[in-house]
């Protein structure tokens, strides 16, 4: 919520003035309203209290706190706030409009217009004619002179009157608050923060209600005794149910464990069965394979042996075939050479006769040579003829070892040797291959057999694990059984108890409805009593934390290690965790006290978690140059929808303004026009133009 409009008519120095506030944003939530002393800052602040809450707001206004509640003091106070030169026929009027922001977009706009009427002699009109309140909630309008019901409406749609001091306050007020802090201040804080005032009032109201109700319900004692007995039985039933629930929970957990174990066991059993099957199957098959392989190996070896025996000669011949064939070839070459030599020698003379005819006279070519030369030439021809067969083929034998085999016979023998050689080696090769394969198969089956023979060890391990699972499952079943027995017994007890409870409830049911209400009211009263006792210390601790946090943001370094304490019945003090002696806050300097007051108000505003505008009149007061920026920063950084700071020219100076300018949404300057004797609101203007 933010204050979107404030209209003041005949209100102190404001004759007819309007503040139109822009919608703040998350980054720009600060509104600065500048006014010199006496120009209308405090009148602005007071208009919020009285405009919203009328006589219920008066107790929070500076200078009026000690004024007794009541109609007459209120009328006198309003007369003081009425503009002295107001025309008698014009009422004094305060009109406030609160508009939701994104943070509370489900709320509706609330406009409160409060008018106070005066007589021609400017005296408050008598009775109900004095004051009128008009409330707009969204589109609905309520105009009431029944101020109490309007108060309810305003509090319902905005906030309770008693939280306003945490949000609308002036610096002096904050400074003075410390002096009245102590027990009273804390109590008020607790009331504001946690609604304990309501709890206390309700407690008292319930006590009165019970007194009246008991007397109407035919005697407190009988109802109370039966109710106490019922309470006792119900408590016992709760305990039994809790115990049963616990046991059932444990059993459920055990069942899950057992299921898990069962699953594991099933897997294991399956694995074991599979392995057992595999073992049995593998062993049989592999052993058969192994026997077969062994037999095959033996057969192959025998076959090789037989073949060697059968083909012994052939094999021997086969083995000798190559050298024999080589020998036959060499002797064939020798035979051929000898044939060539004999042939050449046989034709030698005839050749020589052709070459050198005899007698020399018949030789026209060489006939004229001398006998000696002719003999030499003839010898040369003879030598030349020897070259036909000399030298013999190097592969030719030099003699005949197999001289009995010649010619065609030799060719047949070579052919036979080739046949025997081919026949024997093929068979032997096939048998050798068979033997090799049989040996490999034998080795393979032997290895497989050894592997399978190791399996029983793994199977034993599986059996051991299975045994453990069975033991665990057994334990789980025992636990489940024990619990089920206990649950059965407890349920039997519960049944008996329910019968007794039913009896008491029947008895109570026969009582008047008022007595049942009384029983509930008694219990509520107990809750409220304990709540009252226990909320206060809890609240006190929380408040100390929040006040300390806000105070340390403003205070100087001396308080860095400080912690604010708000002792019940005593004045607030600051304690240090570095051994420094603690100090009473009332002994601090003026602005230090004001810092505490501001911190206290901010803490309350923060803890109440209400999205209400924060309005502070002259927060900086007599702060020095170091305190000013810190205080201003603490205020402007505060997480609220709208922060309105009322200030004079010496407070938020130009340099301070520079520091917060980015957060400022809007500025106003209020100036008192001496000629017209009224305060004039100038939007978007501030000190120094």
């Amino acid at each position: 919520m933010y204050l979107s409009r404030l209209h003041l008519a005949n209100w102190r120095s404001y004759a007819d003035a309007t503040f139109e506030f822009r919608k703040p944003t998350e980054r720009k939530s600060v509104v600065l309203i500048g006014a010199m002393n006496g120009h209308g800052k405090t009148s602005f602040l007071v208009s919020l209290y009285l405009g919203l809450f009328g006589r219920y707001g008066l107790r929070y206004c500076e200078g009026f706190r000690s004024v007794a509640d009541g109609d007459l003091p209120y009328r006198k106070a309003i007369t003081k706030f009425r503009r002295t030169t107001a025309p008698p026929d014009e009422p004094t009027r305060v009109e406030l409009t609160f508009t939701p922001t994104l943070n509370d977009s489900d709320e509706e706009e609330v406009k409160v217009t409060r008018r106070w009427y005066f007589s021609s002699s400017n005296q408050p009109k008598p009775g109900d004619a004095f004051e009128e309140v008009e409330i707009h909630i969204g589109d609905k309008i309520l105009r009431r002179t029944d101020l109490e019901s309007t108060q309810d409406r305003i509090e319902k749609h905005l906030f309770p009157a008693h939280v306003t001091p945490a949000f609308f306050f002036d610096g002096d007020q904050a400074q003075a608050a410390i002096e009245s802090m102590g027990e009273v201040g804390l109590k008020k804080a607790v009331e504001v923060m946690f609604g304990t005032k309501i709890v206390a009032e309700l407690s008292e109201q319930m006590r009165q209600y019970l007194n009246r109700a008991h007397s109407n319900a035919g005697g407190r004692r009988r109802t109370t005794e039966k109710q106490a007995e019922l309470n006792e039985k119900l408590k016992l039933r709760d305990e039994l149910n809790a115990r049963i629930g616990k046991l059932e929970g444990e059993n459920e957990s055990l069942e899950k464990q057992k299921e898990e174990l069962d699953r594991e066991r099933a897997h294991l059993t399956e694995d074991l069965a599979r392995r057992g099957g595999a073992f049995a199957q593998d062993t049989g098959v592999i052993q058969a394979d192994h026997v077969r392989a062994e037999r095959e190996k033996a057969e192959a070896e025998k076959a090789v042996s037989d073949v060697v025996k059968v083909l012994g000669v052939a094999l021997a011949v086969s083995r000798m075939a190559i050298p024999v064939k080589n020998r036959l070839r060499a002797e064939e070459l020798l035979e051929a050479w000898e044939g060539l030599k004999h042939g050449t020698l046989a034709k030698k003379e005839a050749v020589l006769t052709v070459a050198m005819p005899e007698p020399p006279e018949s030789d026209p070519l060489l006939g004229n040579l001398s006998q000696e030369v002719r003999s030499k030439v003839k010898e040369r021809f003879a030598k030349a003829l020897e070259r036909i067969y000399e030298p013999p083929d190097p592969h030719a034998a030099t003699e005949y070892l197999l001289g009995h085999v010649k010619g065609e016979m030799r060719n047949r023998l070579v052919q036979q040797l080739n046949q025997v050689q081919a026949q024997g080696s093929n068979r032997i090769r096939a048998l050798a291959k068979r033997l090799k394969e049989a040996r490999e198969a034998f080795e393979d089956t032997k290895a497989r057999l050894e592997r399978v023979q190791n399996m029983p060890q793994e199977t034993q391990q599986l059996k051991d694990r299975l045994s453990k699972f069975n033991e665990q499952i057994g334990n789980a079943l025992t636990g489940i059984g024990a619990r089920e027995n206990e649950i059965r017994k407890l349920k039997a007890d519960l049944h008996d108890l329910n019968v007794e409870i039913g009896g008491i409830q029947d008895f109570l049911a026969r009582l008047e409805p008022e007595q049942k209400r009384v029983a509930v009211a008694e219990r509520i009263n107990l809750v409220l009593g304990e709540l009252n006792d226990r909320l206060k210390p809890m609240t006190s601790t929380r408040l100390e934390e929040f006040v300390t946090k806000n105070f340390l943001k403003i205070a100087d370094k001396r308080f860095k290690n400080g912690r604010i304490r708000l002792p019940a019945g005593g004045v607030p003090e600051i304690q240090f965790d570095n051994g420094y002696p603690s100090a009473l806050l009332e002994s601090l300097s003026g602005f230090e006290k004001r810092s505490f007051g501001i911190a206290f108000s901010l803490a309350l505003a923060e803890i109440t978690r209400r999205r209400i505008p924060l309005v502070i009149d002259t927060p900086l007061g007599n702060a020095d140059s170091e305190y000013r920026p810190r205080t201003l920063k603490a205020l402007t950084d505060f997480d609220l929808d709208q922060i309105i700071i009322l200030t004079h020219d010496r407070e938020v100076t130009a340099d301070l303004l520079d520091g917060i300018d980015g957060q400022v949404c809007q500025k106003f300057l209020v100036e008192f026009n001496a000629a017209e004797k009224m305060s004039v609101v100038k939007p978007d203007v501030f000190f120094g133009g």
């Binding site: 008693h162 609604g195 978690r609």
Partner: protein, 67 residues
């Protein structure tokens, strides 16, 4: 009318819940009664409050018929 802040604060809410549980009332009844008191608070007007308290208790009893 909103409930008092102690019903929203985590720590105090837990305390209230525990106390309500201990004394077998529900937090809604306590809230109803607190809101009732807030409506009557400060104004001094308490006429008819007993009937309103009885109404709150009756609503509680209709929510918890076994109590």
């Amino acid at each position: 009318m909103k409930s008092p802040p102690c019903f929203d604060d985590l720590e105090s809410k837990k305390l209230i819940q525990d106390l309500c549980e201990e004394h077998r009332v529900d937090i809604a009844l306590l809230k109803d009664l607190c809101e009732l008191m807030q409506q009557h608070s400060g104004s001094g007007r308490k006429e008819g409050i007993d009937a309103e308290i009885a109404g709150c208790v009756d609503r509680f009893l209709s929510r918890k018929p076994n109590l």
